[in-house]
Assembly symmetry: none
């Protein structure tokens, strides 16, 4: 079963609203084996709506429409659907009852505009919107299902969950679709592709692979699609297991877990506490670690030592080493990691020192030159990276590299 | 001039990625007077791409394509555009040079997959992608402009800003469109609207006002649109000046200057240095201050005192006060600001302490209760806020409130 999503609203085209409804719909439909064929975002214009419906009709099985319902939009979608289906509005008694009780239960009077919300195209089956006043509408014509819903996210989601998804699942039968996400770090997309080429080529037919690169690494997504009778879950898990044996050092999470959370979970699991000493990341590393709820279990604090006098006075970095090697050096970053660990009395210290740019670069140490270090009671590990995009990206990339260093040091990979 | 956006990628249809690119494009295109007609999100399927291009071609002037470019087997857009334009790939020497230096400057070897990124359709004009390896492509055929860009947001935005938007603006011609942004903080949208209602009502016809609320305050955008002969710039500047006399205490910047930069500029101008002592913001305040190039002129460092023992040992907070008032209190946050100032030897200290959630709230101090403080040689000012959305939003809101406190204390507003 294929579905098309139409989102109606000038505010989406002007970029005043990010369309998060479609992503939610895509996720939920995939779970019941309905594949979204296309998402089309169009203006509040009746002709545009009709043209879009006409164009999509021969290509899909289900058309989900969000937006253009409600008193402020003049119920544009409803009138346009009447034109499209060549029918007219009639008062729906059930919907009138709902909208009336919606207002009276809130101690507010029903206006004529509200009353008109219960006027629905004669050929539709009304679908209850218990969180709002504009009912959703279900149409079936020439084998195509059309569902029109308000654009307000919480109303739309409730309508989908209570009524539309269960009903579509009944109709869809057929194929199941399962996704598995494997998150990697420390290897570029093309190198990763080369390293797992044999595995990828040998993937069984119903399983497809996608590379989703970002600053924090490359996410791999396996998508399996097969009849309900096939044990797709087992097939996918087998492939994930094979991949894990191929690149164990690069996989930091199975599923949609951000790197700071994966590292936080690892720290919690091992019972380790951590502190950071930051120069070029300027607090971003501490921020990422504390962006997770419950991080106070393992994160104790940070010394952001931007100026050298803070490195000397607070972190106890030797002024001689600073003068001899410079702040951006293996010697200094290693001392930072080891010293913050002792200072804040934690199991692990992490440190960063680099040139985030755009200023401050030299021929020897150009912008993007960064040292990160990890220290525990037994060892100190430092790593040099070079990454030069823009200041913020350099900072973010350093943070992810430092977090990965912690992961590698703890796991010994 | 009308534009259509096509976003390519199964991950959008599956809902694994929210399409934020389109909203950004819609906003930026609107600024240069180009209206987005439709956004179409489609799968990684060559036939689907060709069908979509063919369907949109008679309806629009510009087709912006994002996604489907990258050094893996997923990469289809380039090949599909060759099929659509009935042409073939040729090696583009400029792009090859760029991709080669991209890898060699990072000390990495160029693979065959990377080299192939410089193969481009013979009829395209390559557009530099300085932040990535996949070049963007500009096509013109039968009066329609086609621009194909990678889907990675920061690469796409840079390509648009550097090349595509200026070029489209030149082509769009016609009316001049000028925007003026006035950024306010510390006043809600509806209160602001009331306060400036008379000014708004008296705006001359070619000038329109938009309220753009965000966590960091309400941005006001004046948009003037008129024939080239009108002195629109002067008209707009007059209105901005009038507004400045109405709400001087709330305006922190004219133009798209983020609050941390506005505060940084103020510190630079006054020659003041600053340090932060952070509990609930966990380094976010330091991160925001250091996200600006040149921040080392005024930002010395930070002590992120997440655990109470760091507050006591590093910041010298009295253990008695911590026990008596709790970490989230006027007494403790004021000491934090005053002490970090002395500790890091700066003119100004800023501190935050609060309950970011989701855990840690009590009846007396529910999640969202936060104290921020400012200290200089003469005074200490503390402010209580209550803002409870989710953890990250609470942290961000606290950061902006603390920065505004610095601005107000320095300016005496």
């Amino acid at each position: 079963m294929l579905a098309d999503i139409i989102t109606i609203g000038d505010e989406i085209l002007y970029g005043q609203i990010v369309d998060t409804n479609s992503a939610w719909l895509g996720t939920e439909l995939a779970k019941i084996g309905v594949k979204v064929r296309q998402i089309t975002s169009i203006s509040d214009n009746p002709d545009h709506i009709i043209e879009t419906l006409t164009a999509l009709k021969p290509l899909t099985d289900v058309i989900l429409i969000t937006g253009g319902l409600g008193p402020t939009k003049d119920d544009l979608t409803k009138h346009t659907l009447c034109r499209y289906f060549n029918t007219q509005l009639v008062m729906d008694e059930g919907s009138l009852e709902h909208v009336t009780s919606f207002f009276t239960s809130r101690g507010r009077e029903l206006t004529e505009l509200n009353r008109q919300q219960a006027l629905l195209p004669a050929n539709c089956k009304p679908v209850a919107n218990i969180l709002g006043t504009a009912p959703a509408m279900w149409f079936e014509e020439e084998g195509i299902i059309y569902i029109s819903m308000p654009g307000v996210p919480f109303e739309m989601k409730r309508i989908m969950t209570d009524t539309v998804l269960p009903e579509l699942q009944k109709r869809a039968g057929g194929n199941q679709i399962i996704h598995k996400v494997i998150q990697t770090i420390g290897i570029g997309e093309s190198f990763l592709a080369e390293k797992i080429a044999n595995w990828e080529d040998a993937l069984p037919a119903p399983i497809k692979l996608a590379y989703l690169p970002s600053l924090a690494g490359v996410r791999l997504r396996l998508t399996g699609q097969a009849a309900e009778t096939v044990d797709l879950e087992t097939q996918l898990n087998e492939q994930v297991e094979k991949l894990q044996t191929l690149i164990p050092e690069h996989i930091f999470a199975l599923g949609e877990i951000p790197l700071p959370e994966a590292v936080g979970n690892l720290l919690k699991e091992k019972g380790f506490t951590v502190a950071t000493a930051e120069s070029c990341t300027g607090g971003h590393l501490a921020h990422k670690l504390t962006s997770m709820a419950g991080s106070s279990e393992y994160f104790m604090g940070s010394v952001v030592a931007y100026h050298n006098h803070v490195k000397i006075n607070q972190l106890g970095i030797s002024a001689e080493d600073l003068a001899q090697y410079g702040a951006v050096s293996e010697e200094v970053v290693s001392q930072m990691a080891a010293n913050v660990r002792k200072l804040l009395n934690t199991d692990i210290g992490i440190a960063t020192s680099g040139i985030a740019g755009p200023g401050g670069g030299t021929t020897e140490k150009p912008v993007g030159t960064v040292w990160v270090a990890y220290a525990d009671a037994e060892k100190t590990v430092a790593k040099k990276i070079f990454y030069n995009k823009d200041r913020l990206l350099n900072i973010e990339y350093t943070t992810y590299t430092a977090l990965n260093l912690v992961r590698q040091a703890i796991l010994g990979v």
